[in-house]
Symmetry: C2
Subunit: 180 residues, 2 copies
């Protein structure tokens, strides 16, 4: 649950990231920045901010903002009905993003995760994305990501988003945001 | 057909637009900017420049650059095999884009097209996109677009691109670029 005050503070920080990147939003879009704390109530550690530009039956595009050191928790996009599941390309626009996917674990990861949540991060194949670099995650692949010390802005190009179908490793997580 | 010299000049102009917009490209991407003259050999009037970030079976994302007053000729994306055809969202990042789609013709269009090509522009339902504004074009819809006097940078979020299937109104057009 995010209080209105926390939401407003973070929304303002997000708009500063967008303006640093020269990403123009309409007035209506500025009002509907999403702030997701995944129901964990520790947004600056575990959370994600975004603006969704389009989400039709076939195509979705968003720009994501991560605060310094903020982590989007581990999850995957399973097949849903006739769809093989969501496919996502993350393209770094600003800052550095440390992305972790299934595969050989890195020996010395460049990030740390909260001690009490360590067991909810199970994939440690590390991909480092700097501005202009990108990576595509196919359906049914566990992944999580964390921003470096400057925060990060990341474009996401994907098939349809259906957040309610995402499967998180942490059983405490509720994806759909609740603002009080 | 585009000569190497024309290609290099336009590539440099395109990179300036991207840097004005704070859009970061990798070194490899900077080398593979596409310059499409549609086989008409009048690139600054009728043409389009772009960088393709991703084009899988399901998702495609590009950033387009239009030079001042440059027009992307009228075309549509027909159904292909099992696919209903390409769906495109254009989001203006810089400059102004005048987009024309099927529907009621505007009385006084904000653009003009080359006199000798007038009959190849048949749809005149005008949509004006300024930075942060966007429009979605569903398959099988005729469309064309022109940049204002500052040029334009436009993000395109779409389903898979298969340029060879695009249908242009102008019978003189060849979509696949030829650089000599
Ligand atoms: Zn994901
Ligand atoms: Zn098109």
């Amino acid at each position: 649950m995010i209080s209105r005050t926390v939401y407003e503070n973070i929304r303002k920080e997000v708009l500063e990231y967008f303006s640093k990147c020269n990403i123009k939003l309409t007035k209506e879009e500025k009002e509907k920045i999403e702030v997701a704390d995944f129901g964990l109530n520790r947004i600056r550690e575990l959370g994600l901010q975004l603006i969704e530009y389009i989400n039709t039956d076939r195509v979705c595009a968003k720009d994501l903002v991560l605060l310094p050191g903020q982590t989007c928790p581990e999850h995957l996009h399973p097949p849903v009905g006739d769809s093989p599941g969501k496919e996502e390309t993350f393209r770094c626009r600003y800052g550095t993003v440390y992305l972790y996917v299934s595969g050989p674990a890195v020996e010395n990861p460049k990030t740390t995760v909260p001690d009490d949540k360590k067991e909810t991060f199970t994939v440690w194949n590390e991909i480092v994305l700097n501005p202009g670099e990108q990576y595509t995650i196919f359906p049914n692949t566990l992944h999580w990501f964390q921003a470096g010390s400057e925060g990060a802005v990341v474009s996401e190009f994907s098939t349809k988003s259906t957040d309610e179908n995402d499967i998180f490793t942490d059983p405490d997580i509720e994806r759909l945001p609740i603002v009080e």
